[in-house]
Structure formats: C-alpha cells, structure tokens
Amino acid sequence: MSRYIGNWIMIITLPYMLAGIFLGVGYAVGGKNASINFYKNTGISDPALYSILGGAIMIATMIILENTGGYIREEQLIGTFELHYLTPNSTLQIWFFHILPIATIMIGIFSITITPILLFKGNLLSFSEWLIAATVIFLSLMPLAGIGLVIAALTVRFKEVWAIVNVINSVITLLSGFYYPLEIFPEMVQTIALLVPSSTAVKILRTIIQHRYTSLNFGPQIILFLVLSMIYLSSGYITYKRWENAARKNGELSKY
C-alpha cells in the first residue's frame, strides 16, 4: 500500500474536491439565499464542514467495499490468484485480514482529511473526542467488511467486480446521507437506511464533530453496529465459502 502514495493523496483530497463541486454549484444556482436554503433543508449552518465530513466517511466506506473484490480481481488479472490456493493458508483469512489494516488506515486517513477544515475553523477535536470518533469509524467499517466479503465471493463467481461494486456502492451511498439528511426521504426509506452502517456512523460523527456532543449515549447505535457486523460478516463468510467451493469443483477458479 505504501507503494501507491498518489492514491492516498487522492483519497485525502477527494472529499475537498467533491465538497468544492457541490458548494460551488450550490452557491452558483442558489444565489444569495443559498446558505439560508441549505440551513432550512439540512438544519446545518456550515455546509463546508458538513460536506467534507460526509465526503471523508463516504471515501472510507467505498474503499472498504471495493478493496477485497478489487484485490482479488487484480490478482486474477496478473495471474497470481490461483497461487494463493497452493498455500496451506485459508484464503478467506487472507482476504479478511487484507481489509483489517485498511480499516485501521482509514481512521488515520479520516483524521488527516478533516484536520485542515477543523484547523481552519479553529475547532480541533480533543483526544477523547477523536478516540470516540475513531471507535465509531472502526465499528461502522466492520459490517462493511462483511459486505466486502460478499463482493469478494461475487468476484470469484462472476469475475465482474467493478459492476457489482458499482451497484452496491451506489445503493449504500444513496442511503448513507453523506451529503444530505436522510429525512428528505420517505419513512420507509429511512428505516431501510438503518441497515446501512455508514448512515448511523455519519449521524454520530456529525454529532461529535459539529456539536461536540460526546456525552450522548451512543449505546443503541453501538449495539446496532455489532448486530450488523454479525449479520454481514457471517453472510460474507457463508457466501464466500459456498462460491469458492463451487468454483473449485467447476474448475472456474482460474477462469477469468
């Protein structure tokens, strides 16, 4: 990973670029009432911080979702995928433990990404606030790692990882409310959005960073993360194992 420094620079700057586009276009079309309209629609008076924060979580979410499938696809393309099956290691463990360091790095990336805007606002996080934020990020990424394993299974089965990732990413991004409040959707959609861990993570992180409200009881949300982690990780495990076995039996492991 340290080989691709350019990628990391892009990951850190992307939330700023996306926020720049949304704010630039938003102010251009909204005119002089743009800020007032934004406040009325979102209840937030600081669109820049709101968008950059949403963008940082969105990038972390996308990377976790894409990474396992993308890694497998890359191994397939360069012809080294089957070689993993010649070793005595569990391939499931290889793919899963590939996600874990990335999830940890994402906490660092998130911190680096939001520091400039918080510094600009003169509003840096205290250590305890950062620690809570980091824990929330890590816990919210675990269910996504489970979805990542499902994508890995689909990659082994259908080969077309980016098409699958595109569909899952789009749905998760829409239902996470990275750049808008989910309250604009009907209640049914809001309920479905609870199944997307990043939607809860966005709400908690916004509460911590924008309102400095760490004394809030995040218990129910933490339980939700744990339940979702169990569901998605076990789904990922079952799906991957099943399709890996099928691919081994049909001789499709090395077919791409």
Partner: protein, 286 residues
C-alpha cells in the same frame, strides 16, 4: 516521359489509397474489438442501467439542498443538471479512454506486443471512444426517462441535429485531449489518482453545471482555456437556447480547430514518447 509521369502519379495515388484503406481497416478492427470486449462484459451495462438513477440522485441532492424545496423540480435547473451529467461523460471519455486503454495493456503485459506492430498508435487505443459513443447514446435516452420519472421534468431539446453534431465534435476533442493524457500514462505509468483530481478540476472550471458567466472574473479566464467549456456552452446553446459567453459561431470554429489541433498534438506526443521509451528500454516497465 509522359507515360512515366502517369505511372508515378498512379503509384502515388495507389499508395495514398492504400494508406486510407489501411486506416479504415484499423478503425474497423479497433471498433469491432472494442464492441466485442464491451458486449462480453454485460454486467457493466446492466449495472449502469441500475445505478444511473441512483448516482443522479446522489450527485443532485447535495446541490438541491442550496435551493428552496419548491424549486427542486424547476425545469431550467433540472435541464442544466441533465446536460451537466452528459458533459461529465464527455469529460470522463477524454480523461479515461486512452489512458485507461494504455494502462490496461501495461497491466496485462500486452502493451509491448502492440508496439511491435505497425498499427496506427492513435487508432490502436481508440476502442473505448467507440463504446463510449454507443454508451452515451443509450444512456442519453435512458436519462431522459429517468429525469422525467425522478423530477417530472421534460428534457428540452430544441435542435437535435445540432446537439448530435456538438456532442460528436465534443467526443473528438475529448479524444485529442485523451491522446495527450494517454501519452503521459505511457511515460509515467500509474497516473490514475491524477486523473481523478484533474476530472474534478475540469468539472469545476469548465462551466459544466452552470454558465461560466456566473464565475468570478479570474476563474472565468482559466475556464476559457478549457476545451470542455466550449463543449458545455455549445451543447446548452443547441439544446436549451442558453446564450453562450462568446459568439456561438466563434465558439463552434474554436471547437473544430481544437478537435484538429488536439488530435495532431496527441498523435505526435505518443510517437515521441514511444520513441524515447524504446531508446531507454522503459516501454515494458510498469
């Protein structure tokens, strides 16, 4: 003497014709290869159909937050967004087509083999332009329906032939831009992250989402240097009748000139970099 002259002239004409025929043959081979690859991966196409309405919402909702709720279905605003999404595709075609094709050949280890042939270096990597053209046509029709269903707004299309002409010209400009960019991929290998950054910069300065007249003076000067500014301006002019910043006739001439100049520069740059990489032995390094 006269006979010799006629024979020479016939030989030159023959070579010329042969040259044109070989270009058409290469174009046919590249296009058919591009379409074969495209239709091999049907999952991509299906995924695009599923995700297009979702991504439209994901990108438009944050912008709509800056407008009062009663304007969320404003026909002019929605039409601006529609054409912006089409433009985004054109910008993407410019940045990703050549660079990505070269990078993919590098990764799969087939680039050196392609460079062993005498095929035209530009045509060889144009395959995604053909598929982009097809994709753009299908997505255009699909997005008209999606915008109608999502926002209840009809897409304004005042001069359909004008729009087709401008979009085709736009794709040619994007192709020239992509060739220059592809040459950089050939030289510097993995420049994917730079592509992403550049894509957002281009979207920001080229008046893709709104007329450049709304930009501050200094930024407007930069936006006038972007080829994509004129594609966006002329598309909105043809489709919606929105006034262009410069005279529309002048912008059209600029676009035609850019299509020729960019493609010529791109071709020369790729040849120059290929020659240099062959000398230094870095053609196969990635």
């Amino acid at each position: 003497m006269q006979l010799e002259k006629t024979e020479n002239s016939q030989s030159i004409n023959g070579k010329y014709l042969k040259g044109i025929m070989s270009i058409f043959l290469e174009l046919y081979a590249t296009a058919s290869r591009g379409y074969k690859i495209y239709f091999r991966y049907t999952a991509w196409f299906i995924a695009d159909l599923i995700t297009t309405p979702i991504w439209i919402l994901v990108f438009l909702l944050p912008i709509l937050m800056f407008l009062p709720k009663e304007q969320w279905n404003n026909p002019t605003t929605i039409n601006f967004f529609f054409w912006a999404m089409v433009m985004w595709d054109i910008v993407g075609a410019g940045l990703w087509s050549f660079g990505q094709a070269i990078r993919r050949e590098q990764q799969t280890g087939t680039l050196e083999f392609l460079f062993l042939t005498n095929a035209n270096r530009i045509i060889m990597f144009t395959r995604s332009i053909f598929t982009r053209g097809l994709e753009l046509t299908i997505m255009f029709a699909y997005m008209v329906i999606v915008f109608k269903l999502l926002f209840g707004v009809d897409i304004i299309l005042r001069n359909i032939l004008g729009v087709i002409f401008i979009l085709t010209l736009g794709l040619l400009i994007a192709m020239g831009f992509g060739e220059i960019y592809g040459a950089l991929v050939l030289r510097f290998k993995n420049i994917g992250p730079v592509t992403n950054i550049l894509e957002f910069v281009i979207l920001g300065i080229s008046g893709i989402f709104f007329p450049i007249s709304r930009l501050p003076d200094q930024i407007r000067l930069i936006s006038l240097l972007s080829p994509f500014t004129y594609i966006a301006e002329m598309t909105r002019y043809m489709a919606m009748g929105i006034e262009t910043y410069l005279d529309p006739g002048f912008e059209l001439i600029l676009m035609i000139l850019m299509a020729i100049i960019f493609n010529a520069i791109g071709f020369v740059t790729i040849l120059y970099i290929e020659k240099n990489l062959k000398k230094t032995g870095k053609l196969g390094a990635y």
